[in-house]
C-alpha cells in the first residue's frame, strides 16, 4: 500500500516515532522560550503576550468548570492538561505540510498514536477527578447515577482516537495519493484544505476532553445550585431580567 500500514509499526513506523519526539521537543522548547525572562502580572509585553494569548482559551475553559473556592487549584491543573493536548496534536498534524516525501507523515495519522493520546485523555480525566473529588468520588462517578457509566469512558477512548485518526489519516492519504497522480499544482490546494482539519481536530479533541473532564469533576452541590438557579429564574418573570 502506498501510504504504509495505518495500524501497526512497519518499515516506516520509525518516522512516526521520530516525528512525535520532534513535536514534543519543539513544544517544550517553545514553552521554555515563551516563559523565559521577566514575567509580570501587570501589562505583559514581548513574548509574554504571545504566551498568554496561546493559553487564554484553556484558562477560560478551566474557569468555566470551577467554583470560586477551588478556582486556583482547578485552573492551575487543568490549563496545562488541555493546552498540552491542543498544541501537541496541532504540531503533530502540521507535519503533513513538510515538503519531504517520507518524513511528512503526521504521527496522528497512525492509530497507535491517537489511541495513546485518547488513553492519556481519559485516564488523565480520571486522575484529575480523583485529585479534585478524592478517589472515592472519581470511582463513584463511574457507577453512579447510572451503573453502566464506565462504558462511556471506553467509548470515549474509541471515539476520540478514531475521530483524530480518521481525519488526519484520511487527509494524509489524500495528500499522498493526489501527489502521486498529479505532482504539480494540485497538491498545493489539497494542502491548504488540509489546514482546516488540522486545526479543527486538535481543537475538537481538546474541547471534548474538557467537556468530559467538566462532567467528571462536577460536584453535586454545584449541580443543585445550578438547578435552583435555572428553575428559579424560569419561574420568576423574565421581563425583570435584561
Amino acid at each position: 500500500m502506498l501510504t504504509g500500514n495505518l495500524w501497526m509499526v512497519d518499515s516506516t513506523g520509525w518516522v512516526v516515532i521520530i516525528n512525535a519526539l520532534v513535536a514534543s521537543a519543539v513544544l517544550v522548547g517553545l514553552g521554555r522560550f515563551l516563559a523565559r525572562g521577566r514575567l509580570t502580572s501587570g501589562v505583559p509585553e514581548g513574548r509574554q503576550v504571545f504566551g498568554e494569548f496561546a493559553i487564554n482559551f484553556f484558562i477560560k475553559k478551566a474557569r468555566e468548570m470551577s467554583d470560586a473556592h477551588d478556582r486556583a487549584k482547578i485552573v492551575g491543573t487543568v490549563t496545562p492538561f488541555l493546552g498540552t493536548f491542543f498544541f501537541f496534536i496541532l504540531l503533530c498534524n502540521l507535519f503533513a505540510f513538510l515538503p519531504v516525501p517520507v518524513v511528512n507523515r503526521p504521527p496522528t495519522s497512525f492509530f497507535s498514536a491517537t489511541l495513546a493520546l485518547a488513553l492519556c485523555a481519559v485516564f488523565g480525566n480520571l486522575l484529575l477527578a480523583a485529585r479534585f473529588k478524592g478517589p472515592g468520588g472519581a470511582i463513584k462517578h463511574l457507577f453512579w447515577p447510572n451503573p453502566l457509566q464506565w462504558v462511556s469512558e471506553v467509548t470515549d477512548v474509541l471515539s476520540l482516537s478514531l475521530r483524530l485518526f480518521g481525519n488526519i489519516g484520511g487527509e494524509y492519504m489524500t495528500i499522498v495519493l493526489v501527489a502521486a497522480a498529479v505532482p504539480v499544482g494540485i497538491p498545493l490546494i489539497i494542502h491548504v484544505l488540509g489546514l482546516i482539519p488540522s486545526f479543527v481536530q486538535a481543537f475538537v479533541f481538546t474541547l471534548l476532553t474538557a467537556s468530559f473532564l467538566a462532567g467528571a469533576i462536577h460536584h453535586e452541590e454545584r449541580e443543585e445550585k445550578a438547578r435552583r438557579h435555572w428553575f428559579g429564574r424560569r419561574r420568576s418573570e423574565p421581563a425583570t431580567r435584561s
Partner: protein
C-alpha cells in the same frame, strides 16, 4: 475472494455514512447560522457548540471510514 468484489463491498459503508453525515451536518450548520444571525453576541459560544456537534456527527462518518479501511485491507493484489 475477487478483489473487485471486495472493493465494491468496501464502497457501501463509506457512501452511506457520508450521505447521512452530510444531512446531519447541514442541519447543524443551518441551525447554528440562524442562531448566529439572530443573536450575534453569543456567536462564539454557538460556534464552539457547533464544532462539538459537528465533531460528534463526523465521528460516525469516521467509523464508516474505518470499516471501509478494514474491508479494503483484505484486498490482496
Amino acid at each position: 475472494m475477487n478483489p473487485v468484489f471486495i472493493a465494491l463491498v468496501a464502497i457501501i459503508p463509506i457512501a452511506a455514512g457520508a450521505v447521512a453525515a452530510a444531512f446531519a451536518m447541514r442541519h447543524i450548520s443551518v441551525t447554528a447560522l440562524e442562531g448566529m444571525t439572530r443573536q450575534p453576541e453569543i456567536a462564539p459560544q454557538l460556534f464552539t457548540a457547533m464544532l462539538i456537534g459537528m465533531a460528534l456527527v463526523e465521528a460516525l462518518a469516521i467509523y464508516t471510514l474505518v470499516v471501509t479501511l478494514v474491508i479494503a485491507g483484505k484486498i490482496v493484489v
